[in-house]
Structures are given as C-alpha cells and as structure tokens.
C-alpha cells in the first residue's frame, strides 16, 4: 500500500535511480534492466568463449591432449547453448530494452515489473545449467541440438536440469517478447505510425513474434523429453510407436526461426548505423520492412533443411530445398539496400561503421555458404562437417555478435554520456576482424575435406586447418578482453558526449540528452519527419 502511494508521489518521472544493490535487484527501469541484460550477456560470452577455447585447444593438434572425449562433448554442447541462449539473445533483449522506449518516444517498457522478472530468471537458469558441468556424471553432452535418444535414454542425469533450465529461459523469452510487443504496439508517441518506426523497432517487433511462436514449441519439446525420460512415454522411441526423427522436426521448427531471431535485430542495428555514417537516409525503407517480414514468414517453412540426411521422403526434401533457397531473395534485398545506402553517401569510418561494414561482408559470405547448404544433394556432403560450423559462425560471430558490438559502440555515448576512445575501438575492431576470419575461414576447407563436427580428435589431413583455426580463436578471444577494456576506459575517462553524438544519427533517442534521463520521455515527443524511420 505505502509503496503504491509513494509511486504516486514520485510519479513526476524526474527521480533518479535508487542507490546500492537493490537498485539492480528491484528495478523496473528499462535502462537498468537493459544494462543488466547487456552485462549478463557479456559474461556469458566470456564463459561460452572459454568453453570454445577448450574445444579449440583440444583440436589444436591431432590426438587427445587436454580433455576426455565425453568432456569435450560437454564443452561443445554448453558452448553452443550458452552462446545462443546466454550471449546473443539476452544481448539483443538488452538492446531492445535500452533502445525501443527511446526510439518510439515512450517513458519506459509497457510492463516494467514483468521486465525485471524476465531478466532475473536468466542468471538462475544459467547458474543451474552450468553447475551441472561440475556434477559427478557431467553436464549435457548431446550437442546444443540435443537429439533424442542420445538426450533421453542415453543422457546423463543432468539432462533433467537442462530441461528445466530451458523451460526457465523460455519463460523469460516469452515474457520479454510480450513486453516488447506491447511496448511497440501501445506506446508509440503520436505520429509514430508503423511505417515510420525505426528499423531496429521493426526488426524487434517481428523477432518478438518469432519468439512467441517458437519458444513454446521448444517448451513442448523438452516436456516430451522429460516424459520419455522419467515417465515411460515413447514419443521418440520407435519400439513404442514413436520416432526419433519426430524430435528433430519439432526441434527445428523451433530451431530455424531461432537462428533468425539471432539475426533480424542485427539487421535492424546495421540499418541504423550505415545511414548514420553514410550521412544518407536508409535506402528502400519500405522494402526493408517487407523483406524482414518475408524472412520471418519463410523461416517457419524451411526447418527440415537441417535434416536432409534423416531420410525424409523425396517430396519433403524438395519442398524444404526450394523454400530454403527462397530465403536468399529477401535477404539479398537487405544486402543490396545497405550497399545502395552507402552508394554516394558521405562516408566516415568510426568503429560502429567498421563493424557494420564487416557485418555486411562477412554475413553475406555466411549467407552464401547457407545457400550452398540448401542444395540438398550437396548438403549430403556438407552436413555435420566443419563446413556447417564455418557457415553458422560466419552468420553468428561476424554476423550477430559484430552487430551487437557495433550497437554498443554506436549507442555508448547515449547510454553513458561519454565517448569511448576511437583509437582503441578501431584496434578492437581490427583484431576481431582478423581473428574471426583466421578462426572460421579455414573451417570451410576442413569441412569440405571431410572433417565431421563434434569430434575431439581427427585424421591427419585436417591438422593444418585446425591449427590455424585454433590460433585464430585465441586471437579473437584476446581481442574481447580488449573490448572490455575499451568499455571501462570509455566509462571512466571518456570525453562528454553531445546529445546527437554522431552528426549523421537520426531518431528520437538522439533528441534526448546524453546520458539519457532515467525515464526517457515524460511526455510524448513530437515525431518530426526528420527523426522518423532512421
């Protein structure tokens, strides 16, 4: 009661944050929660990255050196899980929290308390998941795709905790997406029509729908697993009339949209940064929106391209091959529009722009290998080799992860009121760019030469590629320590930033002072044509 009344008293929206730890535990503020999400995801990037480094260290040379095969599988599995669910997704949600209310001219997220809940579920869920690595029988070791029956009948005990952790992450994502949808649909400033919304808002609106549609399916899937493991059902067991392949269909019905969940917000980010540094409006805004919508739609009908080798009937193979190939078209529209935005701009190359350009190039390379994978007969040769690993790291690391880094540099002045050191930022970029290519480019070759994924040891002809790849991984890893340093250095020693920190930046968030006030817009701002759809 008294709290509610104090809420009335304080409702002038000018009060600052509470002090101390409780600020972070109890907060309902979108910026605080965004900050929590971002730091959490950075921590997960480091943990997931260290697991990847264990993998790369073991693969540095043929033979078993550091870890046992089973532990190796645990590393691979948890690396994938932590990167996908712990690093990339929460980072995007953090960005959504920080940016969406500012970009649509709202005071905060639509459902602030639930927002806090969405976040705080995550650290607990991951703590539970990671703690299983230290249990006697070991953590999950069946790949991030956890195919049954390896993950049911043949799984270690920790699979139960894995399932419950997935449930919790799912609940968090669903609440997060509901919040984002409600914010976007309900809290836009007057005049901010849908077709004037900034691209980041658009991409997140569509991403939120993807999440709402597929996270519950994942929850249903792990529930079936739980029942197969503990209650004797036979969903994934042919002896009882089920089918292990059913697992894969449901998983990839979730899993494929999931990979677009990890790239659509990246498209949004890049669509802000490129116009800002080309000093030219985004080319083809409308078709950009339609392209994202088409990608999202197509993402629901391509799932079985991950399953070309399971032995589907021919008609199924053909259907999924055609639909998968089609995705190249709307994605191409995006790439062409970015390039046209740069065309005859007046370009400068600050750190966010460097990351964005690298994004466009390297994501496209990853997309090309994706298209190759879509050719079913060829996929028989690529499937479950390092060619696939190369493909998805190209779209995920210099794709999703670079876009997040670009976003952090781009909005850093708005968040902290300080400028990071451009020199250090560029250094970070070049190390990351070189490192990422040294790590993942050779994997195309080891894959084509026939090296399967998820193996702790390999035949001698793959040795050179693996050594190069491992060296790259350590370079890339170290450059992320540099990233941390650049950020802290910027927060502490950065020069004060102007409200419009980048001269070419457009959008409502740049009309607010830097750092942005605790509650973004007390009164709905006027949406001018100039600040609309940046």
């Amino acid at each position: 009661m008294s709290e509610a009344i104090s809420a009335v008293d304080h409702d002038d929206h000018s009060h600052g944050p509470a002090k101390g730890l409780t600020r972070w535990l109890f907060t309902t503020n979108h910026k605080d929660i965004g900050t929590l999400y971002l730091w959490f995801s950075f921590l997960m990037l480091l943990i997931g990255g260290v697991l990847a480094l264990v993998v790369r260290a073991e693969l540095f040379q043929p033979g078993l050196q550091f870890v046992s095969p089973d532990f190796f599988n645990q590393m691979t599995t948890n690396h994938g899980l932590i990167m996908v669910f712990g690093a990339i997704m929460p980072a995007f949600v953090g960005l959504a929290n920080w940016l969406i209310p500012m970009q649509v001219g709202a005071p905060d997220m639509a459902l602030p308390r639930m927002n806090n809940l969405s976040f705080w579920i995550l650290p607990f869920a991951f703590a539970m998941l990671i703690s299983t690595l230290f249990s006697e029988a070991g953590g999950p070791n069946f790949g991030w795709t956890f195919y049954a029956p390896l993950s049911t009948t043949y799984a270690p005990d920790s699979v139960t905790f894995f399932i419950l952790a997935v449930h919790m992450m799912g609940a968090s994502s669903i609440m997060g997406s509901i919040n984002i949808i409600a914010t976007i649909l309900n809290m836009r400033a007057p005049g901010m029509t849908l077709m004037k919304m900034p691209m980041f808002v658009w991409t997140w609106l569509i991403t939120a729908y993807l999440l709402l549609a597929v996270m519950p399916v994942l929850a249903g899937l792990v529930t079936m697993m739980l029942f197969d493991i503990h209650f004797g059902t036979s969903f994934f067991n042919a002896a009882g009339g089920g089918d292990p392949v059913l697992f894969q269909h449901i998983f990839w019905f979730f899993g494929h949209p999931e990979v677009y969940i990890m790239i659509l917000p990246a498209f949004g980010i890049v669509s802000h940064i490129i116009p800002a540094f080309a000093r030219k409006r985004l080319f083809g805004y409308d078709s950009m929106v339609y392209a994202v919508a088409s990608i999202a739609f197509l993402s629901f009908i391509v799932w079985a391209h991950h399953m070309f080798t399971v032995g589907m009937p021919l008609a199924g193979q053909l259907f999924f091959m055609y639909t998968t190939m089609l995705i190249a078209v709307p994605t191409g529209v995006k790439v062409f529009n970015w390039v046209s935005t740069m065309w005859r701009g007046s370009m400068t190359f600050e750190t966010p722009m460097l990351f964005s350009i690298a994004f466009v190039v390297l994501f496209t390379i990853g997309g090309f290998s994706g298209l190759m994978l879509a050719i079913t007969p060829a996929d028989y040769q690529y499937h479950d080799t390092y060619f696939v690993v190369a493909h998805f790291h190209y779209v995920l690391v210099p794709g999703a992860l670079f876009s997040i880094m670009a976003a952090v540099y781009f909005w850093f002045p708005k968040w902290t009121g300080k400028m990071y050191s451009e020199r250090l930022g560029k250094l970070h970029f070049w190390f990351s760019f070189v490192g990422v290519n040294i790590t993942f480019f050779p994997q195309h070759f080891s894959g084509l030469a026939g090296m399967p994924r998820r193996i702790p040891d390999y035949a001698l002809q793959f040795a050179d590629f693996n050594m190069v790849s491992s060296i790259g991984a350590f370079i890339f890893g170290f450059s992320q320590i540099l990233f941390l340093f650049v950020l802290i250095h910027g927060i502490r020693n950065g020069k004060p930033a102007a409200a419009r920190a980048w001269e070419g930046a457009r959008g409502l968030e740049w009309t607010l002072p830097s750092p942005a006030p605790y509650h973004s817009f007390t009164h709905p701002p006027k949406v001018t044509d100039d600040e609309a759809h940046a």
Partner: protein
Amino acid sequence: MKQSIKYISVILGLIMAGYGFADELNMPVGVTEISRQVYGLHMTIFWVCVVIGAMVFGVMFWSIISHRRSLGYKAASFHESTTLELAWTIIPTILLVIMAVPATQVLIAMYDTGGEDMTVEVRGYQWKWQYKYLDDDYNQTFSFFSTLSTPKDQIENRSVKGEHYLLEVDNHLRIPANRKVRFLITSEDVIHSWWVPDFAIKRDAVPGMLNELWTIVPETGFYRGQCTELCGKDHGFMPVVVEVMEEAAFDTWYAQEVVAAAVREEAMSKTFTSEELMAEGKQVYTTFCASCHLENGQGIPPAFPSLVGTEMMTGPRDEHLRLVFDGVPGSAMQAFGKQLDAVQLASVVHYERHSWGNKAGDITQPRDVINLNSGQ
C-alpha cells in the same frame, strides 16, 4: 579502407587458389556418377555465389573508396527506387530457379533405390558398425562388426600416428565394383550417420527406423569416411571403411564368408579349454567392452562400473551371462546377445571372471549360453 580491401582480396585469393591448385581444399570429386554430379552442383552454386559476391562487394568497396567524406564527397539524397527493388528481387529468384533444376534432378536420381544387385544392412552401435549381407529375401547370410583399429597409444600421443589414423578398422565392408549395392541403414541405440564422401552418400542410422541408400562404384580401392552424427563419447572414433573389389574377387570372398559362417555355427556345440576361452575372450573384450570398462576392467565410475572384484564376477555365472546377454535397458550397457554369438559371449564372460584378479574358478561354454535361452 585499403586494409579491408586487402583482407577481402586475400580471402578471395585464398578461395581461388584453393580451387585452382589444391584438391585437398575442396570437396572430393569422388568416384561415382552421383558424386561427380554432386561435385558439379557444389561448384555451380559456389561460382554463382562468387560472382554475386564480387558484384555486391565491388559496388560497396567502390563507394567506400570514392564516396568518402575525407575526399569532400557530399551525400546524395535519393533513398528509394521501385525499379531497383524489383530488379534485385526478380533476378536472384530466376538464378535460384535455374539452380534448383539440376539439384532436383540429382536428388531424384539419388532416391532411385530399386533394381539392386545386392543388399547390405548397415547397423550403427555405440561405437561401431555392423554389416549384414542379405540374400534376396532379406535374410542374413553372414555379418560382422567393424571397429576402430587405431591403437590407443597413437590416440594418446604415445606413439607415432599412422597413415590412416582414426580412419582404419578391424573388419571393413567389402562390396563389388560396378554392381548396384543397396544399403539398409538403421541403428541399435542412438542416431549415427553413415558417410562415404567419395560416393557422396550419407544417411542417418535411426534406431527403429530404416533408411535406404544405393551406390554403384566403378573403381576398386579403399574408401574412408566417418560417423557424422553425434552419438556419444566415441563419436569421433567410429570410421567407415569400404573396400570396392573386382567382381570376381568379391564373389570368391563372399562364398568363403558364407562357408565360414557355417563353421562358426558348428563351433557352438564344441567344448573349449579355459586357455582357448581366455584367448578368444580377451579379443572380444578388447573390441567390444574395453571402450567403457577399460582394458584393465576398472571402468570409469560412476558412468561405467568397474568389473574388478565385484559380486557379479564371483556370483552365479548365469546372472553374469544374463546381464551381458540382455544388457541393462536404459543404460549404455547394451544387449550383447544381439551382437555376439555364443562362442564370443561364453568366452568374454569366462575372460571377465578370470582376469584382473577375478577368480570365479568356473568355466563357461557356448552351450551354457544356448541353454540359458532355451531353458526359459
């Protein structure tokens, strides 16, 4: 921006160099009609991507170089063009349709499993393959297991790695050249995947379900591949080795194996000495059991129990036999009754009961295994 151009050209150069000079960097062309077609698809789509990539990146880097503010370039103000949007929607679509046609043709050819000259069942186990040769009615004529033969010493870096490190097995699959061989693929436990890159065939082995594949190999020789679906701890250690033989040589071998199978059948009623059993048992143990219970019987507790000095080793012999025969459902301990014949089962149990300090003091004969099952 010169630097990034340098990197891009290095990358592209690497690709070109790769495809121009070293086969090792590319997908194997393989030795079958299908594998050559697959290689063709792979190269076509690759060049489509390279050309599109060169165009897109070309335009981009052109503007990066020449439309720079540091050169005083002023931004233009155009920001849409329906014509362009249509063009870059329609042209890629057409390209993809053109690409889809040959892909469809190859795929249809791959699905044509009928008209085979012979059939082999391929069954995946944690972590080995079983090959069963079937007659025209799909009845087994003979079968054998194929297990990694690379010594532990090489894997653990105690000795020099051989030429076919991790790609060698004790018994390899043999098929005749120039005949259409059909494979029925399934699994006993988890999902595996059977892959021979040079034939461009790969198919998952799904427990309880059956997949079909076929190949006609014109060239004799050894072809090596690996299991390509994560199947647990030793997923990296279950290679596929196929020998394609001259037809006549194959037929001779086949006839011999059929006879040998009959001889083994007879051995089931023989009585063995303890030494014979120990020798055979050691071999069976090393191939089938040591991956989990280890060479010294200590296992890797708690996942894989030790077999040293436990109750089972000295307790009633039939219980021991029963356990190995039926396995422990829901655990990694498989039902070896399905994999081993009576001689092997008897000898491995005898071996376990009299090794590593275990002294059961009894003897186990093949007929005990047979009685175990007929008795109930």
